[in-house]
Amino acid sequence: MTTYLVIAALLLIGMLVVQISKANEYINTLRGEDAELDTDKINGVLWLIFTILFLVGIVWSTWYFSPLFLPESASEHGHWIDTMFNITLILTGIVFVLTQAALGWFAWKYHGKKGKLGFYYPENNKLEMIWTVVPAIALTILVVVGLYYWFRITGPASADARVVEITGKQFNWLVRYPGPDGKLGTNNWKLIDETNAVGIDFNNKDGLDDVMPTELHFEVNKPYLLKIGARDVIHDVGLPHFRIHMDAMPGLPTHFKFTPTITTDEMKKKTNNPNFDYELCCDYLCGKGHSAMKMMVYVDTKEQYQAWLQKQKSFYETAIKGTDEEKKFKVAATGTVSTESGNTQTNL
């Protein structure tokens, strides 16, 4: 019933607009040139009003919504990105205000007046030069600074960076930490099945102590290298608080290095939000469960991190050992590799 009422009301408004417009048109036709000049004036004034409200509105709304923006970057390189964003914001902001103001001002000031001609001003090469060179200089600055940061962000990871593997699948994330040996075991997509979700090859002993937790934990102020891949379709590792986006693709490994700088607890205080948590999201459409691909992320102090690590058992231990799955692999069956739990904390 409400739907019909709304439709009826909209139709009535539409008819009203149309009838008034038609009447207005008849009157204007009768009035001739004067009516046209009035229209020019009214629209000119509207342009001025719009431009003022628009510029004021943008400043106000940016201030109003700023509490909802992302808090301070929780990673080292994130500050570089934020700096770059702010430099660009200032430069483009100046251009934005000047050009929009000029447009609105001219649109009002030069509305049609009786007996006036437009000013014949077809070209001026000096002006063209000015507005070629000035943007060129501004853009050069942005390119130089931007690329300076870009190469720092995408450069090689430091040798002591800890490796964490993130694999996207429809519709959740799989993460793998190297065990005490500090090395991720090799994996092979042909070994993937319901249990062995990333296809770890247990013939390779590096994989026997690999850990596959259901949350991501990072130790604060330690460099990490994320090794990113996908099992089925394209996903994208989105860690907005750390200023990270990197596609996860099947058959094409990617990576991203970063150093978290603010622990979860510190961020709860900074944002005054006891419910605050870092989240990993998927940023590339991957199917029906795309918007639910979430994994919790924790940045821990050294103590918290060690405590968490103590509790982790190797994937082999918890999911493979003693199952039919184990029979696929020779090494485990021969018992040449020790896989005791509880020794996962050293050197990680």
Binding site: G14, P122, L147, I228
Partner: protein, 626 residues
């Protein structure tokens, strides 16, 4: 084509002309002559053959109208889809039972749309608006309508290819429309159609038969676009009337020429990408696929392909495509601004050079869509440089437009309002491009609502504004009547303010990291804070959509009941389309073709309000354009 038509006095060397029923040929000086049964107007033709005049017409003006009306229908569908998915984002709890009624209950059990249906909506919204409305609807309409009229030609170089161009477009649309009602629905893998999601049927419902239909439809569409583009280029280069040198062409024609060249060079690449994707989907090849395991299905046999290959091919079209969309709007806006400012466009040559620069650079910036796909950082840096380079010609255009209205005597028609609005939108959307083009900032903003805001403002709404400006401005030439101005002004202000209300707040969502193409942001503590803002955006989107219905009403009403045009040149314009009769027949000019003596922008020169292009130069008069 009967032998009787061929007999109609055609000359051997101009076989293309034989296909029109009004034959024209080109004499040795390159001047088009016209042999026609005079007084053969639309009204007579109507009685003679309805199908020939309105359906399978070879008259460029009729084909232009066919593109326009088909484009409007697609715009209503494409815009309507966006309102449905905005409901899911703004008001997820409101049941929408009509979805079940139209598309089938499985898409919206209990009136609640499913994620698969949402993905289908966003995919079709993007595809329809980018290709069917802003490419075919915009270029197709104005290239067909304006090229022969503004260069002084009887028709296109090849009218039959022109007709085929429309009918391939129509077929592409028919296939796309049918796909909505397939059991597995239309394609739902986003308009960029990245494999593997689009290549593996079992990866998503939206990747089943609907994706096949999408690919077939796109192939047909590309054929249409190529047939049209070839024709536009040939016509502009060969069929200009006497005196119409390239340096006297209106900027609309320059823009349409450059657009056609861009399309001709880039669309075949998309066709190639689509064909390889069809092979991967249906014939077991592995161009884009490697090492894939689908849950519940198992390991796929594909090996050795590369998903990035598709992205390179797609964006090699995809980026020029955004200029294919915006360049015709550049041309229309330049023309409308000059005519209604009663001033020459500022920097005619700079405008052409900047369009050429944009077109050339358009082919070398595609990888800026791929900064975070694991592209080599050095390659990324080259594309940063080239991408920001393109801001320079864009800035030149903006400053020239603003200078054009400086010290003008502005006559506000709805077309002029939309043109000034276009400049405002192009500034706003262009400047946010400087953020996204810089790879280090793109790391953060990639695939968030910031990019949605950016491209909707700069190429979506702005291109629409160019289209509206064109329709309001040339409606008198199309139908011999004016559109209602008052409704036009209301349409403008609601659309202009409303569009900013829809898209400006999306920048804020993007800066907060909110990802695009999300069915719901509820699962994330960081993203679900924008409920009220999402509601506001949805309401604004619905209001803007309703305002477009006002435009459609105005269009249809004015076609039959609008104020009649009583003078040849109602806008006091210099370009030669206004020297044709109020209702030009097939062949455009009743007598000989007009001769052109000057550039198109002599407004306010030497104390004259305007001097049409057909007026000879006075002794001692200087020209500023070439």
């Amino acid at each position: 084509m009967s032998t009787k038509d061929l007999h109609h006095g055609h000359s051997e060397q101009h076989a293309g002309a034989a296909i029109t029923d009004h034959v024209h040929y080109q004499d040795t000086e390159g001047v088009i002559r016209f042999e026609a049964d005079h007084g053969h107007h639309d009204s007579d033709r109507n009685k003679k053959n309805f199908i020939h005049t309105y359906i399978f017409s070879t008259d460029h003006k009729m084909i232009g109208k066919q593109f326009l009306i088909t484009g409007i229908i697609w715009a209503i569908i494409g815009g309507g889809l966006s309102n449905i998915f905005r409901m899911q984002l703004g008001f997820p709890d409101v049941p929408l039972h009509f979805i079940g009624t139209i598309f089938g209950d499985k898409w919206a059990p209990g009136g609640k749309m499913t994620p698969d249906f949402y993905n289908m909506l966003i995919t079709m919204h993007g595809t329809i608006l980018v290709f069917f409305v802003l490419t075919a609807g915009l270029s197709g309409t104005f290239a067909n309508l304006l090229i022969p009229l503004q260069i002084g030609a009887r028709d296109m170089a090849s009218p039959v290819l022109n007709m085929l161009s429309y009918w391939f477009f129509f077929l592409a649309g028919a296939v796309m429309f049918t796909s909505f009602f397939l059991p597995s629905g239309a394609a739902g893998v986003s308009w960029v159609f990245y494999p593997p999601l689009s290549a593996i049927r079992s990866a998503a419902v939206g990747s089943e038969t609907g994706a096949d239909f999408w690919l077939i439809s796109m192939a047909l569409f590309i054929v249409s676009s190529l047939l049209g583009g070839l024709n536009y280029i040939t016509t502009i280069l060969n069929l200009r009337t006497k005196g119409m040198s390239m340096s006297k062409l209106p900027l609309t024609i320059w823009a349409l020429l450059i657009t056609a060249i861009l399309g001709l060079l880039s669309f075949p690449v998309l066709l190639g990408a689509a064909i390889l994707l069809i092979f991967d989907r249906s014939m077991g090849t592995s161009f884009y696929l490697d090492k894939i395991y689908i849950s519940g299905i198992g390991a796929m046999p594909h090996e050795g392909g590369n998903p990035i290959l598709y992205q390179h091919l797609f964006w090699f079209l995809g980026h020029p495509e955004v200029y294919i969309v915006i360049l015709p709007a550049f041309g229309i806006v330049s023309e409308v601004l000059a005519v209604n400012s009663r001033k020459p466009i500022f920097g005619y040559r700079a405008m052409i050079l900047s369009m050429l620069a944009i077109a050339a650079l358009a082919f070398f910036v595609w990888a800026h869509h791929m900064f975070v796909t694991g592209l080599n950082p050095f390659v990324g840096s080259v594309f940063v440089f080239l991408t920001l380079l393109i801001a320079i010609p864009s800035a030149i255009k903006v400053f020239n437009w603003i200078t054009t209205i400086w010290r003008a005597n502005i006559r506000y028609t709805p077309a002029m309002m939309f043109s000034v609005g276009f400049v405002s939108l192009f500034i706003s959307g262009g400047l946010t491009g400087i953020f996204l083009g810089n790879s280090s900032i793109d790391i953060q903003l990639h695939d968030t609502y910031f990019i949605v805001a950016h491209f909707h403002i700069v190429m979506g709404v702005a291109a629409f504004f160019g289209m509206f400006a064109g329709v309001y401005h040339w409606f008198p030439k199309m139908y011999g009547r004016f559109m209602n101005r008052t409704i036009g002004f209301i349409h403008f202000w609601v659309t202009f303010v409303g569009s900013y209300c829809i898209f400006w707040p999306m920048h804020y969502q993007g800066m907060a990291g909110v990802p695009r193409r999300y069915y719901s942001h509820g699962a994330f503590e960081s993203f679900n804070k924008f409920g009220a803002l999402s509601e506001f955006i949805t309401i604004a989107a619905i209001v803007v959509f309703l305002a477009q219905l006002l435009f459609v009403f105005n269009f249809l009403y004015s076609m039959y009941r609008g104020k009649k045009v009583t003078e040849l040149n109602p806008w006091k314009s210099n370009t030669i389309e206004w020297t044709t009769p109020i209702h030009p027949g097939h062949g455009n000019w009743d007598g000989p073709l007009p001769e052109v003596h000057r550039g198109p922008y002599d407004y306010g020169k030497d104390g004259e309000d305007f001097i049409p292009q057909t007026v000879p130069m006075r002794p001692g008069e200087t020209t500023h354009h070439g």
